[in-house]
């Protein structure tokens, strides 16, 4: 039996998530096989709809790598994102999707190791949850 290889869509803010991902790549750290990185200029760019669409079109889990609060280059981006993620989770609850399938993580530019750790943990977590039943 082949093990389930969950698909993760990771939105990465260009101020934090993207550099962290690049660092992880340079360090040749282990990354999930089934991963799609989506760079955004600011986590505030991520529409609620993007989060849902990712799940709708095949992701088993969605993560957002954003800057620490109070650290947003555009001052409010990650705060607005937080509200949207909360709203998306409400919608997911109505559909009957587990809240773990969507999560924000705060990283800094140099969080290469943390970046991959988070993703690998997500893979384990999603393996336990099983495939997204709504994709």
């Amino acid at each position: 039996m082949s093990i389930f290889d969950p698909k993760i869509v990771a939105f990465c803010c260009e101020q934090s998530g993207v550099p962290a991902a690049e660092m992880a790549k340079t360090l040749k750290l282990k990354m999930p096989d089934n991963l799609e990185l989506v760079p955004v200029p600011c986590s505030g760019r991520i529409e609620t709809l993007y989060l849902l669409k990712a799940l709708e079109s095949g992701a088993d889990g969605v993560v957002v790598f954003a800057c620490y609060e109070e650290n947003c280059r555009y001052l409010q981006g990650n705060i607005r994102l937080k509200g949207r993620v909360g709203y998306a989770k409400q919608i997911m609850a109505k559909i009957g999707l587990e809240s773990e399938r969507l999560e924000i993580f705060h990283v800094a530019t140099n969080s290469g190791v943390k970046f991959t750790e988070i993703l690998m943990q997500k893979v384990d977590q999603l393996r336990q949850l099983g495939p997204n039943p709504a994709k």
């Binding site: 709809l49 849902l52 669409k53 709708e56 109505k94 559909i95 709504a134 994709k135």
Partner: protein, 223 residues
Amino acid sequence: MIKAEQKPFEEILEYLAPYGKILLSGCGACVTVCNAGGEKDGALLASALRMARRKMGKPIEILESTPARQCEPEFAQELTDTIGKVEAVLSVSCGVGVQTLARYFPATQIFPGVNTTFMGETVAHGVWEERCQACGNCILEKTAGICPIARCAKQLLNGPCGGSSKGKCEIKRETDCAWQLIYDRSKSLGQLHRLSAIIPAKQWGVESRDSGPRSIVREDLKV
């Protein structure tokens, strides 16, 4: 403007159960502004419905469209071709827009996707409050611009009830007592004397919709 909020999700799922292909029609005006049925919120609902139905093993195809205002016949008619392709319509405009579609598309089921809640004002971003009940005979000139019909729980016309306490309403403690607001504003405008005039009881059966739906006809405008 008109304020609305999305209907409970299960309710929508339930009445859409028999259909495999629908149109989700939003409205580009009032319900866009209150984030209930504009293009963005329509798309969110459509995505959620598609996922929920896939999870149930009964996928649904959803077309999306957002006319600028669903309550004008011309905008409604723009949907003719699309509606011809679907089994039913889920309209996330207010109840008016749903009925406009119902009038123009007699052969198609039109379901409401939102609960039309009130006519209200944006008090802060993301916060809307009821302001007018369309009573048919506005008395705001007597009440310092604050409506006791829409904002007093008991619709009192001549001062607060005995339950008004510390400026709050006894029915809902977190709500301001409308009559406190009326008094305070009259006072600061130096218009307290206006409040001593008795406001006569409203002719609910004549002006309001108690005697059935109202209509406005302007003969001069008719074509």
